[in-house]
């Protein structure tokens, strides 16, 4: 498989999927290594960086996704009137921040860091599929352990959770 052909296929796969696609899966279908996939992505991204392209490829967690560039947002808005995406409350963001860096973590531990009841915030995050029950702790009461989902990385556009600390 030559690299140019692989680039086109990767572009097509991401286009069809809409949702982020796992790098392993792409590598498997193309019969190349993950590193080769990333090399293709890097080259595609070089093209996308040109001003005459409105798309961009990004890595979220262990997946790749094709999205529009932020700068064309006003035009997208003008033609499609996208639904206003509901944003997370302060409570939900705080709770998510804790789960992200302390996972797996119980509700009790979250509440002792925040100092307030966090049941509602956790429920909201679960409904939005940003956190999930990883398992249960083997102590009396068998409390639920929470962790973040793959979709959470997509939601915030994070390649890894360290991005959040580095960007600060």
């Amino acid at each position: 498989m030559d690299i140019q052909g692989a680039m086109g296929i990767i572009e097509g796969i991401l286009f069809i999927s809409g949702e982020p696609v796992n790098i392993d899966e792409i590598a498997k279908v193309l019969g190349i290594s993950n590193e080769q996939v990333m090399e293709c992505v890097k080259q595609l991204q070089n093209y996308y960086d040109k001003p005459y392209h409105g798309l961009t490829i990004s890595k979220v967690g262990e997946s790749l996704r094709l999205t529009t560039k932020p700068n064309i947002f006003p035009y997208i808005e003008a033609i499609f009137k996208p639904k206003i995406k509901s944003q997370l409350s302060k409570a939900a963001l705080e709770t998510l921040a804790i789960i992200m860096f302390r996972q797996p973590i119980t509700r009790n531990e979250i509440e002792s860091i925040r100092g307030v009841n966090s049941e509602k915030a956790i429920n909201t995050l679960q409904e939005k599929n940003l956190v999930f029950e990883i398992g249960r702790l083997d102590i009396p009461g068998r409390p639920i352990l929470y962790g973040i989902t793959e979709q959470c990385m997509d939601y915030f556009g994070l390649e890894s959770i360290e991005d959040i600390i580095i960007d600060k």
């Binding site: 944003q87 925040r114 600390i165 960007d167």
Partner: protein, 245 residues
């Protein structure tokens, strides 16, 4: 000092403390507990005038602050002979626990702000709806690999699947009005005629709200002189008996 603060603006007692610390440019490693406690109390006082339902967490923090304040006052009453002991005291600053918790909270507060910024960024970019390819392979569904047992187990699993509606019905159960709960509890006690332990009035997996409601119902019944409640020791089991027997 006039404080124009709404409790909604704060995520909890730590958040409120932070607001006060930043506003007064306090060094977090050397918190003037007296001042801070005073300010904290005046804020929650003002708030609780309007919002009686002030979250208990805010009151717990008030108690913590007062307790730290009183501990800090103690060493000054002791004699100054034991220099080494004093050094040990410094190691064991009563504020440490609070400071550590505040620092921990601060870290996540900052991360949550960074997440907020990322969320804003992501608002501007769009994914494309996935292409519906199912038509390409619709012809592939074949019944030949399915048995009646498969169908039965599929049916049972789909019927048992948790549905979002269940959450709604759970809420109505939780928010049973107190008056109904009072009647319900009284009926149980009257029927059993003997002593009943408080913990037997709700199932082991009862929600916090349910337990609180049951407790409130008990208080109500005591006030109405309908039942007797005894508790042998602090945090011990509450035993209930019906007065009319």
């Amino acid at each position: 000092m006039t404080l124009n603060i709404k409790i909604d603006a704060f995520e909890g007692p730590f958040d409120l403390l932070f607001h006060l610390i930043e506003k007064n440019q306090i060094d977090i490693y050397d918190i003037p507990i007296s001042d801070l406690t005073e300010q904290y109390l005046s804020v929650i006082e003002e708030i609780s005038e309007n919002e009686l339902d002030l979250a208990s967490e805010f009151l717990v923090m008030a108690a913590t602050l007062l307790s730290i304040k009183s501990k800090l006052l103690l060493p000054s009453n002791q004699n100054q002979e034991a220099q080494s002991e004093l050094a040990a005291m410094e190691d064991d600053d009563p504020r440490d626990d609070l400071v550590n918790k505040l620092l921990e909270y601060k870290k996540f507060k900052e991360i949550s702000l960074a997440l907020k910024a990322k969320e804003e960024e992501q608002k501007l970019i769009f994914k494309k709806p996935p292409e519906d390819l199912s038509y390409v392979w619709a012809a592939d569904f074949s019944i030949s690999k399915i048995s009646l047992e498969d169908l039965k187990s599929s049916f049972i699993s789909v019927m048992n699947k948790k549905k979002p509606e269940e959450k709604i019905s759970k809420i109505t159960k939780d928010s049973m009005p107190l008056s109904r709960k009072v009647i319900e509890v009284y009926k149980i006690l009257k029927r059993l005629k003997s002593q009943v332990r408080f913990s037997k009035l709700f199932s082991y997996d009862a929600s916090k709200v349910e337990i609180i409601m049951t407790f409130l119902a008990i208080l109500e019944l005591i006030k109405m002189n309908k039942i007797l409640a005894t508790q042998e020791k602090q945090f011990g089991e509450i035993v209930l008996t019906c007065r009319e027997a």
